[in-house]
Subunit: 464 residues, 2 copies
């Protein structure tokens, strides 16, 4: 009587596309722009390339139907991976432990899929990796089997006389620019603030040409791939590491597989878990795996993650961007030391701006600017962990009340940003992350308190 | 330099488990209880069975490790589907167009997966479909390949002398009952309010035995599977229907494949899309598919969905439940006529309660009780479409202000509830749904306004 069936991941996200940020044509327009821009920025930054991203959104003449074209000078996609990279959900190059904007292996594809189901048209991809040829193809997604369908005879090889590297993605979709343009422009502006080394241009359906020009040629350091941090590992991770390890002794297995764990720490851990350091990892019993995971969870002396794998904005650049954008009377930014959750290193940066051009928030709201891995997060602020942290802090202790002209900035960089939604709208309430946000904001709050108290004293003195 | 790979859906949700409601041990405890209870309630209600669900959550003696056991008298799972139903992500019996709590094909599995990665132990399943035998097995999930691993020699056949039908799921996991118990008890209480025909019992880790006894033997009508509603279809849906249709004329294809669309409407539609009614559906060109979809989107004369496929709570039961729970001075409930979005029929029910036992909300907050397909939604209220609708209504027009002792209730039933998150926490901002919520609340607001005005008059008269 019940009909039992399996569906493909593409079918799952087609049926539940609001889960990926495609709730309605307005939100879809925003999501399509951001997913493609984030792919382009990743393709540049992870390869030490100064990003140049060209976005054009034009009307096609059919009501509500737009054409989007995004071009970048990033690393490009090798020929053999082009169909899957753009046509297979849960496929990509960002499943490794490294700080990138992308992480799910579906953002670009969902944008393409949405275009396909609203206009029944294909996506055109051109990509070059800096070699003597570049490649072009047109494809659609077979949603039920989650496979790319190459059209027009497959991938064409084109001459590449300038040895160009980059990617061009172009397709049509049904959207609503007029109701999403406010957020789209905010997205570009806030991105430009924290990416002073990027050239971004945006041609709108109304024919307006926005250009955000780079003001520096200095790229931040490239985020590196890392080993998992030992704090917060789970049984599945241990099982996978054991499966592919070449170490035949537990002490080697532990010291080669985790971030900043050396022989001494490995021996201390194995002692606590009561596991013989010379035991072959592949002979661990189920019970021993659990003991090891619990010992790792309770061990307090792990070195914190190395900041070198992460690429934060930095306090000076954060302050500069805030000053340029809001012209506050006071601003203070702080960058916390690295921490980790579930094996993932992360860094929280925060800032508080007060007065000057900062407006008091609407009643019941908070001026909260959020970023994660250098992506501005513009939706669902009230569900974000930062919002919850701000609500829980006793601001009166800092002579601050939330109805003042005050603005909060929180940026999280991590090898895995703990988004609550596939549409990357807001961040989940992870205890270690909430803790770091709270202390970052309290540090800024203390500075604002000193400023406000000295201001009060100065005014009192002036009055006498 | 970039490493390209695909991952399985199980691996995706393992890596991103906060997306499925497993942000931290507190939230995981809640999610595990609700996912299993919702599976049990579906298994009963969709088969006309008065639900009896027994939940026990016990401490195992190991710190933070609980054992959960959920037993129901539902339809059970046939032997051949047991491993996939409980061990393969994106597998289930709820992919059809019918009102059920489950819809994604992963909730129960994610609970099992979370138990597995925190305790490295297996899940025990016993299930019977009312036949002379029942089945028992123990399994774990191979996450990287998204397959069940049957332990202890596979599925065992056991005698079933009482011809029992039902399912028992039992496994261990790392959780935090003390910090999640408030919400878990709210979940049971709010479920019991709207399910007066269900027996639910819950044994807590503290040894407390909660029993919610049924007060009626009258089951609501069983939700029926339906054809998609023609309003809001997309190209992919048309393509799939065309692929499996046996109709060889468009007029038959249209009138057999959509909810409440007859020959007359089919002909009118095909005329607008300029498609020959006698054309073979399998010969539709890409262009014609788009024309058809657009014609269907713009056609205004479709009959609204038939309410018979949906199973709302109903105004009397809603009022009864609110009165029992909150003892308000005034309460009014309304059930809107069926509407649809993206081809999915839905009904909105709403109520407003005022005064009496209703407390004024905390500053900046709203007393908003939300339900979807009879599931109480207890998290992320501020992101829900209902919250946004309430914030956007001009309450002063109804002599209401949001700081009064006022409580709002919104229930949505649909063949597909448009959740924004895989953890089913809150509902996406779908225009058609927001519209229905707005008018349902305004209808209640008008009744409250009359009540308040007559109360003011009565008080004024008494004072003279
Ligand atoms: N502009 C681009 N330049 C180079 N590679 C790209 C580009 N766009 C996509 N890719 C490749 O295609 C893959 C899939 O992209 P997609 O957006 O679907 O997923 P993702 O970026 O990995 O993760 P997410 O879903 O979080 O965006 C990427 O991992 C990347 O390897
Ligand atoms: N207690 C139960 N009784 C009968 N069938 C069940 C039970 N629990 C699970 N099933 C079957 O297993 C399938 C998978 O359950 P699972 O919770 O993983 O997904 P779902 O309920 O279909 O969707 P969702 O992810 O939204 O919960 C169900 O569709 C149902 O057919
Ligand atoms: Mg991407
Ligand atoms: Mg379920």
């Amino acid at each position: 009587r019940e009909v039992y069936e399996a569906i493909s991941p593409a079918d799952f996200f087609y049926r539940n596309r609001e889960i990926a940020g495609f709730d309605n044509p307005v939100r879809a327009t925003y999501t399509i722009v951001r997913e493609l821009v984030e792919n382009s920025l990743d393709a540049c930054e992870t390869h030490g390339i100064l990003p140049s991203v060209y976005v054009s959104l034009t009307e096609t003449g059919r009501a509500g139907v737009y054409r989007i074209r995004v071009e970048d000078n990033g690393c490009g996609v090798p020929k053999e991976y082009i169909p899957s990279a753009f046509g297979q959900i849960l496929f990509g190059s960002k499943y490794v432990l490294r700080q990138t904007r992308g992480m799910f292996g579906l953002g670009g594809k969902m944008a393409i899929l949405y275009g396909q189901i609203t206009t029944h048209s294909s996506v055109k991809i051109i990509s070059g990796t800096g070699g003597p040829v570049k490649y072009q193809c047109e494809l659609m997604i077979d949603i039920q089997s989650n496979k790319p369908i190459l059209l027009r005879g497959g991938i064409k090889t084109l001459p590449n006389p300038l040895y160009w590297h980059g990617t061009i993605v172009e397709f049509e979709f049904e959207g609503d620019y007029s109701r999403s343009k406010g957020r789209i422009l905010d997205y570009f502006r806030q991105t430009a603030i924290i990416l002073p080394y990027a050239n971004i241009s945006f041609i709108t359906p109304e024919g307006i040409y926005y250009r955000f020009l780079r003001v520096t040629d200095k790229l931040p350091k490239i985020p590196k791939e890392v080993l998992p941090h030992p704090k917060g590992v789970d049984v599945e991770l241990i099982k996978r590491l054991v499966k592919r390890t070449r170490s035949d002794r537990m002490v080697d297995f532990i010291s080669y597989n985790f971030h900043r764990v050396g022989r001494k720490t490995a021996l201390a851990l194995l002692k606590r878990a009561k596991i013989d350091p010379n035991k072959d990892p592949k002979e661990l019993t189920s019970d021993e795996i659990v003991k090891l995971v619990n010992a790792m969870k309770r061990y307090d002396n792990f070195l914190p993650p190395d900041a070198s794998c992460l690429s934060p904005i930095g306090p000076e650049l954060l302050v500069k961007g805030i000053e340029k954008e809001l012209k506050p009377e006071f601003v203070y930014a702080v960058q916390r030391k690295p921490s980790s959750y579930s094996g993932h290193p992360f860094i929280v940066e925060a800032a508080i701006a007060y007065g000057g051009g900062v407006q008091p928030p609407k009643p019941g709201e908070i001026n909260l600017y959020r970023y994660a891995n250098k992506i501005p997060l513009l939706y669902d602020t009230a569900s974000d962990v930062s919002f919850k942290v701000i609500k829980s802090i006793k601001w009166s202790r800092y002579r601050i009340d939330l109805e003042m002209p005050i603005a909060f900035f929180v940026h999280i960089v991590s090898t895995k940003v703990p988004y609550k939604t596939v549409g990357k709208e807001f961040i989940a309430d992870i205890p270690e992350v909430a803790y770091e946000i709270e202390w970052a904001l309290k540090t800024c709050a203390r500075k604002l308190k000193s400023y406000l108290m000295s201001k009060i004293r100065r005014i009192a003195i002036e009055r006498r």
